[in-house]
Assembly symmetry: C2
Homo-oligomer: 206 residues x 2
DNA sequence: CAGCCAGTTGATAGATCGCTCTACTTAATG
DNA sequence: CATTAAGTAGAGCGATCTATCAACTGGCTG
């Protein structure tokens, strides 16, 4: 048995615990217990200690969620459906886990924003990558790059904030409401883009 | 000098530190240092310890921010302006404090959601009170109660999520984008409500 | 097989956590 | 003035935190 399995278990257990309880509420001992790993292995694989492990857990969670974007946007017949499905999926996940699993890095992001620069950067990179991945879907559907980015940031803000409210209120209502708002905004943006292309093709934008 | 001042200093220092660093990252010793209060006073005024102090800090922050809603919506000429000003004010606050002061309870809300039921309830009450306060402004402007609540939750989600992104990315861009989306949604909702009242007054809703 | 080293391990150090406790000061009351 | 209550003050407790480090393992080489 090689230690690579151990390392893997540590990272995924960390990602799960950090995401649910937050960074400071999760102890290293708790992590090794959940990962069924020896205590010392943490510092063998992550000489930088808890902070280095945190950064890797953040990036791991970010990558998994990033793939989820494509999983929702790939098979859907159109963008509006994909957006709606994404929020519905988020609400379902929330319900299934008794409001424990929402965004895996939002809690950490707020916790470390003013405390640890390396961890803050890790969360920033993840958010940026999500925005880039999702934006690509919208530019692919005909939206100008700037407009796509703006729409994605608005929807991601809505989702993240809905998670905050949902976990506090123990209700999926905010996610459903934010989802409807996102669907509507997507519909409007796509219509506006189509309008601009077909109806006033010769006009020169200022 | 009576101890009420001490109690007050403890609560406001707690609210500030919890809001910026989170609940678990803020120690009781750090609080008394910031409040220039004796350590024992914490347990004199808050026999329930850190958790009771946390609950009071949450409610305190919630009350202050609740008043802020009226401060923005009172003097504004119309709701759309008020919504825009609120987000602009949030962005300014973020910039002025080097992205330290966003929503005073969002961090705590995520941290404690799955850990402490009393604290989770405190955050839930605060969010509900904000929603009620803001909804009143929108029903007052002619929106049906259900639609007002939905609009407010969508905007609050957008704001909270924008705070998450803004602090992580160290940029006010998400707040500005969420603000534009909120303004647009408000405009549409008000127009739809006016439309319904004037153009099809005789129809009976299902 | 001896020697060696990368990889692995948990006991433990050292700091800090929330909290309790006792002692002291001040203010108000009989 | 004596008594009581309220608030001030910090030493120190057990628990828990992150991190270290010496000991151990298994496999490879001379």
């Amino acid at each position: 048995m090689t230690g690579i399995d151990t390392r893997e278990r540590i990272v995924s257990a960390s990602a799960e615990l950090f995401g649910r309880q937050g960074y400071h509420a999760t102890g290293v001992k708790e992590i090794v217990a959940a990962a069924r790993a020896p205590f010392g292995s943490i510092y063998h694989f992550f000489p930088g200690g808890k902070e280095e492990l945190g950064a890797e857990a953040i990036r791991r969670s970010g990558a998994i969620y990033g793939e989820l974007i494509d999983a929702f946007f790939g098979p859907a017949p159109d963008l509006v459906t994909a957006v709606g499905d994404s929020f519905a999926g988020a609400a379902e996940q929330l319900r299934d886990t008794d409001f424990a699993d929402a965004c895996p890095i939002a809690t950490i992001a707020l916790e470390v924003a003013s405390i640890s620069e390396p961890l803050r950067q890790a969360t920033a990179e993840v958010f940026e990558s999500w925005i880039a991945t999702a934006s690509a879907r919208f530019t692919g559907a005909g939206l100008p790059a700037g407009r796509a980015r703006e729409l994605v940031i608005a929807m991601l803000s809505g989702l993240e904030g809905a998670f905050v409210l949902a976990r506090a209120l123990r209700s999926t209502e905010p996610v459903e409401i934010a989802g409807r708002a996102a669907v509507e905004a997507t519909r409007l943006a796509l219509a506006a883009a189509a309008n601009e292309r077909h109806e006033i093709p010769g006009t020169v934008p200022t």
